[in-house]
Amino acid sequence: MTDVLISAKGLAKSYGQKQALKPTDLEVPAGRIVGVIGANGAGKSTLLNCLLGLSNYDGELQVMGMNPLMQRAKLMEQVCFIADVATLPRWAKVADLLDWVAGLHPKFDQAKAIARLKTTTVQLNARIKALSKGMIVQVHLAIALAIDARILVLDEPTLGLDIVNRRGFYDAILSDFFDETRTVIITTHQVDEVEPILSHAIFIRDGSVTLDAAMDDIAERFLAVDVLDNQKAEAEALKPLYSRSLLGRTTYVFDNVPADKLRGFGEPRRVGLADLFVALAQ
């Protein structure tokens, strides 16, 4: 039996008249790395806030079998989240912060966090406000990875970081956190960087989930092919999802069209998440 960590039925959230998240059904088992992808204001953070018990909501929602809004404190023993790079208290010293987390979180391994930080340039007696963005992320990551959680939620965790720190961040998540018993949920604008590590993707547009699928299914279902001008009419007869003309070639994205049918135009290839997101947004 699959260990379902997150289950939502008709999950919705409104701010006054505006429905930031339209009724959504969701089921996330263990062993997934889920990318939540959408434009600014699409409802990604609203969804995560609901999952984390950070805001009220309508509908049914269970995370680790708990109601996040009513049982957030208990839930956070099993869920860890990094909202963005600027949420650590700037006035605190790194060592004090580790002490406090050790006092507050029963599943925090302080020695593990310190060991990780000793491999970085972060000084334990430094104040957070004295650290660079990259260092702050190292501290936050050291804390998160030292917590024995089942779910790790990352909301734009690498915003403002350079490419080296971004890559190091995701490498650490994969090597030091993820296994088949845990789930990672990521929202980010740097879709191309997380795409290789995702097992599932959820697209959100205007508060609605427009796609919720495994990456393998996406690779099979959506295919792109470059079509010559003299074959465009034939290709368009297969009702492509999206087309884009560039440098004398037209790229078509197809949904649920067998690869064999597309080979007549050229070699079909899988569609990148960024391209697919744009295609589905058309």
Binding site: N49, L52, G53, L54, S55, N56, L69, R72, A73, K74, L75, M76, E77, V79, C80, F81, I82, A83, D84, A86, T87, L88, P89, R90, W91, A92, D96, D99, W100, V101, G103, L104, H105, P106, H140
Partner: protein, 352 residues
């Protein structure tokens, strides 16, 4: 419990400047000033020795029962060894010690610790004001700097968080200031006792002075506890506003407490100081300055039958204990609990 203590440690670290450093710095400044004043010698008794030489001011000195002269002018001299002598117009010269009888010295044993205790209260008073600012920012600033998102990733309830902030800022903040006040009191009393010896006054029991000081500390500690009880609904209100206010939480918290009664006074007040509406509107401010606690309280010092003043420890403690019998005291605590719960609920339902 470990979590709660950790939250308190965190909040104390967050507000170290206002809650810890400020009372210590104020006490240090007061100590330096007192030490400087006593060393320069112009204020060895807390008044200028030249006042002794001035007949008009002699009455005030007499009123404190330090000397047994009438209102005639006397000459006061301080020798190289610091001893003070007083020469009357008829040429009679006595040391200051000789002018004082046993009752006068017993009076010093009582009055001196009261005076130094009163002088030492400044750190506590300043802390009482500082905690209002800290409390107003407690649940607001974490939203402002977004650190609430980090703290909410910890398995700690919003009620625990709000309660810990109240305990650390109000409880520990004020009692730490009281501890600083007591340490300052010990230092100032010691300086005063040494000064007594320096000017040649004998027979004043230092141990009695300190014992009277200890009695006052007990009264102060109990009074502080009762004060917090009276003021707790105001502190709870401030916490609630801190959790809710989008900006300027201090103004948002205190403007209603002062502006509403002032507006009422401007519109409807007809000179009746016992106007029940006005009394109700001013009650939060009154609680904040401890007005209900000190209502009809007897003096700290009272002369006994043999005219030796005594510190009214029992009477003061009884008066303070009587506060526990007032329904308003307990109603305030219930209201405070409601405010804290509401503050935690507001914090629970919003991320930023």
């Amino acid at each position: 419990m470990n979590k709660f203590l950790t939250l308190i440690r965190r909040d104390l670290a967050d507000n170290r400047g206002a809650l810890i450093t400020t009372p210590i710095v104020i006490a240090a400044i007061m100590l330096v000033v007192t030490l400087f004043a006593s060393l320069t010698g112009n204020a060895r008794f807390g008044f200028d020795p030249e006042d002794f030489a001035n007949g008009r001011n002699g009455a005030a000195v007499e009123g404190k029962a330090y000397i047994d002269t009438g209102s005639e002018a006397v000459a006061v001299r301080r020798g190289p060894d610091g001893k003070v002598t007083i020469t009357r117009p008829n040429g009679e010269t006595k040391t200051l010690d000789e002018t004082m009888d046993a009752k006068a010295k017993a009076t010093i044993e009582t009055v001196l610790p009261v005076g130094t205790a009163a002088a030492s209260l400044l750190p506590l008073g300043i802390a009482g004001i500082a905690i209002l600012f800290v409390l107003a920012g407690a649940l607001h600033d974490e939203r402002k700097d977004r650190s609430i998102l980090f703290w909410k990733s910890m398995p700690v309830s919003d009620l625990e968080t709000a309660a810990a902030k109240l305990v650390s800022i109000v409880g520990i903040g004020l009692f730490f200031a009281l501890a600083v006040t007591i340490v300052l009191n010990v230092a100032m009393t010691t300086i005063a006792v040494m000064t007594l010896g320096n000017v040649g006054i004998t027979g004043v029991s230092a141990s009695t002075v300190y014992l009277n000081g200890v009695k006052l500390w007990v009264v102060m500690a109990v009074a502080l506890l009762i004060y917090i009880g009276w003021a707790l609904p105001v502190y709870g209100w401030v916490s609630l506003v801190s959790a809710w206010a989008p900006k300027a939480p201090f103004i948002a918290a205190f403007a209603p407490l002062f502006v509403v009664p002032l507006v009422y006074m401007a519109i409807s007040f007809r000179g009746n100081e016992h106007d029940p509406i006005l009394s109700a509107l001013w009650e939060p401010a009154g609680r904040l300055i401890g007005e209900p606690m000190f209502h009809e309280m007897t003096g700290v010092v009272e002369k006994s039958q043999d005219h030796i003043p005594t510190i009214q420890v029992d009477a003061m403690l009884a008066h303070l204990a009587a506060n526990l019998g007032q329904p308003g005291f307990w109603a305030g605590l219930v209201l405070a609990a409601g405010f804290i719960y509401a503050a935690s609920e507001i914090r629970r339902r919003r991320a930023l």
